[in-house]
Every structure is written in C-alpha cells, then in structure tokens.
Symmetry: C2
Subunit: 352 residues, 2 copies
Amino acid sequence: MNQESSASSGGPTLEDVARAAGVSRATVSRVVNGVRNVDPAIQQTVRQAVAATGYAPNRAARSLVTRRAEIIALVVSGAGDDSETEQNAFASRVFADPFFGRVVSGVIAYLRPRSMHPVLMFAETPDARAQAVGFLRQGSADGALIVSTHAEDPLPAMMTEAGLPAVLFARPAGAVPISYVDLAHQDGARLAAGHLLARGCRRPVTIAGPQDVASGHDRLAGFRDAMARHGLPYPDVAEADFTFRGGARAMALLLARCPDLDGVFAANDLMAQGACQALRDHGRRVPDDVAVVGFDDSSVAAACDPPLTTVRQPVEAMAAEMARLLQERIEHPDRAVTSVIFTPELVVRESA
Amino acid sequence: MNQESSASSGGPTLEDVARAAGVSRATVSRVVNGVRNVDPAIQQTVRQAVAATGYAPNRAARSLVTRRAEIIALVVSGAGDDSETEQNAFASRVFADPFFGRVVSGVIAYLRPRSMHPVLMFAETPDARAQAVGFLRQGSADGALIVSTHAEDPLPAMMTEAGLPAVLFARPAGAVPISYVDLAHQDGARLAAGHLLARGCRRPVTIAGPQDVASGHDRLAGFRDAMARHGLPYPDVAEADFTFRGGARAMALLLARCPDLDGVFAANDLMAQGACQALRDHGRRVPDDVAVVGFDDSSVAAACDPPLTTVRQPVEAMAAEMARLLQERIEHPDRAVTSVIFTPELVVRESA
DNA sequence: TTGAAAGCGCTAACAG
DNA sequence: CTGTTAGCGCTTTCAA
C-alpha cells in the first residue's frame, strides 16, 4: 500500500504528495487542513495522492509554526514533599477511587472529537511539579487540567505565575486567579440531610472526608448546617479518608459512640459502602435499622448492597467542562477567568 | 523574573540566550543538551544566560530535527465495534479495576526519569483505533504501549503493519510479531491450587475470569491442570467478569451447586473479595469454613476482610519492563522482537 | 484559486 | 572547543 512506511522516520512529506499530485506544497497543505478556496477537482487529485503516498502530516513541523501541540496535560497533583512514601504508588492510590476514572472519561470525551490528547502526569513532589511546569513551558502541551488531592497544592499558583493556561477541578485554597469547575458541595450535603430527616431519622450521624480537602470540609459543613436549620444538635462525626476501609472503621466507631444512630451520611460512596458493610457486620439492617446516604453517585453506588441512595456529582460532565474552559483559555488568553459550579442532585435508591 | 513569559507563544529562543551569553546558538544548544566539549567557564555563562532569560527549549523545533516526540501512547484497547455501549464510560469501567492504576504507576515510574510522558488513549472502537494509529503515524508519539481487554483486539496487528513500535501487556491472540510482557498465569493458578490442597481442602472450586481473555483462560487451565495432577476430579467452575459483583454472584451460584465446598480459587482479587462477601452473607467463615485464594495481589487483597491469600502479579514491574522494551525498540528498530514472562508468587495472608 | 518563498526554533555536520 | 550553515516539514503571507 504505502510507498514509504513508518512516519516518524522519513515517511512521505508534503513535498512528495505535491509532486505526485502535480501541485504545490501550499495547495496540498490547504486540502489537508480543509481550507476553503481550493478547486474541487484539484482537491480530488490531492486526496488521491495523499492516499497513494500514505501521507501523514508531521506534527512537530506543524506545531512549530502553529505553536500548538494539540496536547494537554492532565495533572493529578498532591501537596507532598520529596518523601519516599509520597512517590510510591501515588498512581495506584489515585486510581483506586472511581473518581479519577470518571475524570479521565469526561476529559477524553471532550478532547477526542477535537483530536486533542491528554498526557497523564502526577505531581506529588516538588520535582514532579517542576517537571509538569517545564513540560508546558516547552510547548509540549498547550495547557493543564489540574486535579488536586489537597487544598494546599502549590501547582495552580505555579502555573498561573508562569503564565500557563490551566483549569482546576475544584476551587483552589488561596486567591489564585484561575478557572475551575466545582460542585455546590454544601447544597449536596443539605440534600442528603434533608432526605435522612424526611424519612424519619431521629439520630443521624456522618462520616466526613478529610477536612484538609475542600470537598470533605464543605460536605460536612453543609450537613451540619442542615441539622442546625432543622433545630437538631450537632451530629456525631467520624472523619475518614474517603476509602472503603476508612468508611467501615468510622462506622464502627460511630456505632460504639452512639448505638442508637439511625441514619448515616457518608461524604463519598466508597465510605458509604464501607459503612454498609460495617453495619451489616454489627447486625444492623440497611435501610431498615439504619439509613445510609452516600455522595458522588460513582460506580460503586449502584453496585453497593443495597444500592446506595446518594448525591450525584456529575464528574464526567464537570471534567468535560473543565476541558472546554481550558480550550477557551488557550484560544483566548485575554478573556476573563471564568468558573462553573455544578448543582448536585439526590439519587434515591434503596439504602435510604 | 523572566524577560518573556509563556513559552508556547514567543518565549526566548536559543538565539536570545546566545546573544545574552555572547556565544553562538550551537554552543547554547550543547550546554542545554549536556553535550561534552564545552569550556566550563562558558558553560557557566550560558547557564546564567538561560536562567536570566527564562529560556525553555521548544519541543516542536527539537522534535522536528531529532525525530523524537519523547511521548509514548498508553493505549487501553478493546475489541469493540462502534456501538454506543462500547463508548460509554469505557474509561470508567477500565479504571474500576485496580489493575490499570498499577500499569500507569509502573509506566510512569519508568518514563519519568527519562523525561518521557504517556498520552492516555482508549481504542475501543474502529474509529478510536484509527485515531491511535494516526497519532503515531504523525510522529506525535514514538511508540505505543498497548493493554488489551480482549484477546481478539485488532490494534496490535494494525500497529505492526504500519511499522510502528509497540509493546503489549499480555501475549496477543494471533501470531503477531510483537513484543510483550506477560505472567506465567498457569503456574500462578497451580500455586493457588497447591496451597488450597496443602491446607487440606477436599472440595475446591473456582471462580474463573472471562474465557475470551487470555489471562482468564490460562488461570482456569492451570487450576484444572493442578487438580488433575493431584488426582482430583474436575473442579466446579463459575465464570464471572473480573468484578466484585461478578465474584459475589458466582460464589452464590457455586454455594448452591456444591454446598460442601471448602476452598475457592478466584481468578482475580476483586472476584475473591466478592466471594468473601457472599460467603459471609451465607454464614460461612473465611478461612475456617472456606479458604479463599485470589490472584493479582492488587490493593484490594490487603484491604479485604480477611486479607487475601493471593498470587502476586508484579504489574508495576511488568509495566515498567513493557516501557523499557518499547524504548529499546524505538532506539533499535532492527533488533529482534523479544518478550518477557514474569513468574508469579504466592502471597499467604489470612483468607487461606 | 494557486504558487513561490520566507521562516518557526532547533540540531548536527563540518570547518576552523 | 566553538562558530557557521544547512536543513527538519510545515503554514502562511504575498503575488500572480
């Protein structure tokens, strides 16, 4: 088929196609890039020549002149230092939560039709952060999508200071002038609280997420706020780390502390699932003895036994929007920084 | 700090640095790329000029001449057609298994010190496959790391036919001349069988993986083989899909079919975890009533209750090796195709 | 509508 | 050890 093979090492160039089609390089370029003002007949000829030669445009050459890599960095960023523990299996830990798979899914859904691609980077140490910034500064990527695991993450500020386009998942801690997408976490927690109360819970408790993570903090705040509004005392709280085991342990603790609890709001589905198991182990039925509400509506929510009533966070849509904001920023660097807050919804299943 | 900002749009060039340092572009290039034969004093001067100007080399320009993108594609590939179901949340499904996080972790561990980066791609439909091949043909990536979810995946053959460097995780179905890393799955299953038998199981059964996936097939074959060697009859088998729920359902089925079972080999940890839950729900204690052995030694193995005895698959090391093989192939396209098979190990914890 | 020509920023011969 | 020079393959004015 192809005259030449393997693109990266000397495949056919525009020149070759031009010669085969009997036109100039410029014309071939126009056809390949779908620029108007090319005679339909010539377009045909060129297309045939492209097919005949097996031509594929060289990205580096194109990028050199367009100043676009058509690549964006998808950075999962922590706030760690250089310690060993930070580096080991950061990726595995990150992907243990269904959240990141959904982010990837949403980002790719947006990028793919635009033939852009995400480079996956982890920035959990100062070195890795510097590498991420360097990657963008070299023009290897046109911008960065940042998902932080901690509010104190220094990467967003580093990016804006370097004048690099970046968009975050979740509001940054400081006053960094940067776009982000986020969820109205407090409203979500209020939804959960309202549901628990509406179904008659007298003694609801909550398993909170890490309080140094914005979403963890806000979900607890929203829950407490709703309780206060309903005239109830401060609910019992156990803090955990957004993992299954953490949720199970927190539930056991709560059970010991207030044996008469009849409702639990867990700040994410993974912990809610852990809570369900712990409840079962302690002989409590869900939802008959204890109602459980999760958060996120991740894949585990539907897979849980019983299926979880939860607060939906449209992660895929949020991730796609994040990509859209980034693209907009790349194309119009001068436009004002904008952010988008999504609204949570209650998804009622069987656990509450 | 920086004279100019934002690299991708007109940051300082080699020329600027050369002028500032009072040397030629070539010399700056040599210093930046760490080539020998540069006077230490001049090196100093140049480095200062680099710092002063805030210079970052332009990747596109460099790639254009070196013919290297310093980027590799990490492709998660299915065997699907264009159907809607295929495309929806393929990414989420993929990342639901801890396996992929480990692959990413191993790949990045290898690439990062070499300042190479992975572009994440999903190739679950013909379109997506074509896009992946196109990406490489344009020289956007120097090679591909392919993780197939099905044995019938056409992507590996497409890559080799296009003359593109690629390495697979797991042996391809057909006789595609391509490098891969793999595990001796059958040996692993034999290890599990041997352990179950050694601890006195009289009636072991197995939860197999999908039989159209090589690892699923081989793990079952190895288990059966070991049983035969020990003079035991064909064990009862329930096939599942490598998920938690699938494992739980299969376990329930097995329990109904042979109530006197006293040992289970699940073809991965996720299903083993599901089996543990099902067993508990049916009032069987693990390991006292039923011994459970998993496969993979993924994060869920240690997190399971009780912690799983399992067969270790060193995914991170395998992924790193896969990246190493790819790099070797990229640098020496003419060398013979080689593959590496890893040896599984039994990890004894509490479930058996 | 098409072609000629000028670079984009960098590396790598090749001289000196 | 350092500088000069010739492209890498493409897009994009500018003329025709």
